[in-house]
């Protein structure tokens, strides 16, 4: 059992990180902390992909006559490429989220979710 846990430590790391991020997104009241949780959650998935592509003893996937003749093993480059795209997506999400928080801070003077809800209740849902 212990062997199983130790041998697959990369997956355990990813699961623990993902759950930390998930917890922060659900339980935290502060909007910035929610966004930090989102980033941890996404990064955990990126780590999962990166660890998928790894080959023990593998080197950078640069193919030339020399590396082929010496019989080098390469890591799989495709997960890295995918994650490069996913990171761009994550950055875009983060940017929109932070922009929204800035606008909310200007509007309500707070970034605590409960207080924003309270201010909204006092105003009534008039939408204007």
């Amino acid at each position: 059992m212990i062997d199983l846990i130790l041998a697959k430590y990369n997956y355990w790391t990813f699961i623990i990180l993902m759950l930390i991020g998930f917890y922060a997104m659900i339980a935290k009241e502060n909007l910035i902390k929610k966004v930090i949780g989102l980033s941890i959650f996404q990064t955990a998935i990126f780590l999962f992909y990166i660890s998928l592509g790894d080959v023990i003893g593998g080197t950078a996937p640069i193919v030339s006559d020399e590396t082929i003749s010496k019989g080098y093993i390469y890591v799989n480059p495709l997960p890295h490429v995918l994650i490069l795209t996913a990171i761009v997506v994550a950055v875009a999400t983060l940017a929109v989220a932070l922009a929204l928080i800035i606008r909310m801070y200007e509007e309500y003077g707070t970034i605590e979710e409960e207080e924003i809800v309270k201010i909204e209740r006092e105003r009534g849902i008039t939408c204007q």
């Binding site: 997104m25 929610k34 989220a97 929204l100 849902i125």
Partner: protein, 501 residues
């Protein structure tokens, strides 16, 4: 030389290029932005009709990006179902763009350029999700679509910011689950092309990783399409967005997420996997029934028209997903579900545009303020009545056709309790739409001083509203005389559905 085989890619690229063109030309003169947007979406719409025609007469279009063969390169594959979704989404997208001209001038006077830039990015994302045949590419387009919709919802400021933020957090969780599902599939097969995956996965159906991946896809996309327990972001986001974005969100964006779900369930994992290894469609049927009733009951309790319509969208997602859930056990396959995607887009598009027209004219949000509108805005309220009758299901409207097909499907599957649920939800729909119509037409006597002074909306807003209102009945008749049946048969035979097991 331009051939129709290249159109799937061009539809996506034109939209993306026009987003940047709007940004540059809008900097010179704000007025250009709207016209460029309308022209682009019109061009895309014409191309999508050509693509649909080509798919039905010649066959599936495969386009390889950069000439790389499918398992290695990205492939855009357009079959009957993609083409149908493409036409639906670009049709509503076009009408929303026309409608937005006056409405955005009024609501976001200084932000017209950025509005249309992001609107074009939204269309890019939607088209991309629909045409792509590569599952990672689909994730990227889902995120383009979602991120641009977060920004568009927030554009009205104030309470919409909070709604948009909640949607952002929920939507990102959904997208991450989708990404995780892709990772699981990649780890067992080493492929990302949907067709290739379906072949490589078939010997691996018993594998726990594959089954876990399927669950991640279902949960992730359920958040995106606001299926019942995961719908909590929807009412606020749909209610506080600008009117045309509400129409797009409600009619198209959740429907495109449903498309992604159908595509993943039937094209990547096949019918065999769903029937033998993870019989989840019974659960989906029951969840949809709950969504139908819950959405309708909560719609009754709303005082705000747009929030009422948003809860009605939750109920209508129930109808669509009931069609998907029943697809494996009837001879009609996906026909009711796909039918309701178009029908819902037409009806809800019309209703949200009418709600937007009231806000445009006199800032009317609450149903109780609608006294006497029937006399003052005759055409707009007429369209509202047409769409409301269609929602209720008056023959031969679109809502009637959906309910008819769903009831036949339930009967075939021997699920009479679902038939009862459809009737109950219809009664609830009658109640909440009648309330609005009552205020608009009948309650005029008690306090004339309370009535607001309004007149009809501008023509450019009225035309899309009336087109959609009339289409609610025209499309219903088209469905009833079975014109689109070859299309639906093509979709069903594609997934091996529609034959009795």
């Amino acid at each position: 030389m331009l051939s129709i085989e290249q159109f799937p890619l061009l539809i996506v690229v034109i939209s993306l290029l026009s987003a940047f063109t709007i940004l540059i030309l809008g900097w010179l003169n704000e007025k250009f932005s709207c016209y460029i947007s309308i022209a682009t979406v019109l061009l895309q719409f014409i191309m999508s009709i050509l693509v649909l025609n080509h798919v039905l007469t010649v066959g599936t279009i495969h386009y390889w990006l950069g000439g790389w063969k499918p398992p290695w390169g990205i492939e855009y594959a357009v079959d009957a179902m993609n083409a149908y979704m493409l036409v639906t989404l670009l049709f509503l997208g076009l009408l929303c763009a026309v409608y937005s001209k006056k409405n955005i001038e009024h609501e976001l006077p200084r932000k017209r350029v950025s509005f249309y830039t992001i609107y074009q990015l939204l269309i890019t994302g939607l088209c991309g999700v629909v045409v792509t045949g590569d599952i990672f590419n689909m994730f990227v387009f889902i995120e383009i679509m979602s991120i641009s919709s977060y920004a568009l919802i927030a554009s009205r400021g104030k309470i919409a910011l909070k709604a948009s933020f909640t949607y952002l957090i929920m939507g990102s969780i959904g997208a991450c689950f989708f990404l995780l599902g892709i990772g699981f599939l990649y780890s067992v097969t080493g492929s990302l092309n949907m067709h290739d995956l379906s072949i490589l996965l078939s010997p691996l159906y018993g594998n726990k990783v594959v089954q876990a991946a399927f669950v991640f896809f279902i949960v992730g996309l359920s958040i995106k399409m606001a299926l019942f327990p995961l719908h909590t972001w929807l009412p606020d986001a749909h209610a506080f967005a600008p009117a045309e974005i509400s129409a797009m969100l409600s009619g198209i964006i959740i429907a495109v997420s449903t498309y992604a779900f159908i595509r993943v369930a039937f094209s990547v994992f096949t019918l065999k996997f769903i029937m033998m290894y993870l019989p989840i469609f019974d659960i989906i049927c029951w969840v949809s029934i709950i969504a139908m009733l819950y959405g309708s009951v909560l719609a009754i309790t709303q005082t705000n028209l747009k929030r009422m319509l948003a809860y009605s969208s939750v109920a209508n997602m129930g109808y669509i997903m009931l069609g998907v859930g029943l697809s494996t056990s009837t001879t009609m396959g996906l026909t009711p579900a796909l039918m309701h995607i178009l029908n819902h887009a037409v009806m809800k598009g019309c209703l949200f545009m009418v709600a937007g027209a009231f806000i445009y004219k006199a800032d009317l949000w609450d149903i109780e303020d609608f006294r006497g509108l029937g006399r003052k805005m005759p055409y707009t309220t007429f369209a509202f009545i047409l769409a409301a009758l269609a929602m209720i299901g008056m023959p031969p409207s679109v809502g009637f056709v959906t309910k008819l097909y769903l009831i036949i499907a339930c009967m075939e599957a021997d699920q009479f309790i679902f038939v009862v649920a459809i009737f109950v939800s219809t009664l609830l729909i009658v109640y909440y739409f009648w309330r609005v119509i009552e205020y608009m037409y009948i309650r005029v006597g008690d306090g004339d001083d309370k009535e607001v002074e309004v007149d009809e909306v501008p023509t450019s807003m009225l035309i899309p509203i009336l087109i959609l209102g009339v289409l609610c009945f025209v499309i219903g008749i088209i469905w009833l005389i079975d014109i689109p049946l070859p299309l639906m048969d093509a979709v069903n035979s594609l997934f091996g559905l529609g034959v009795m097991p």
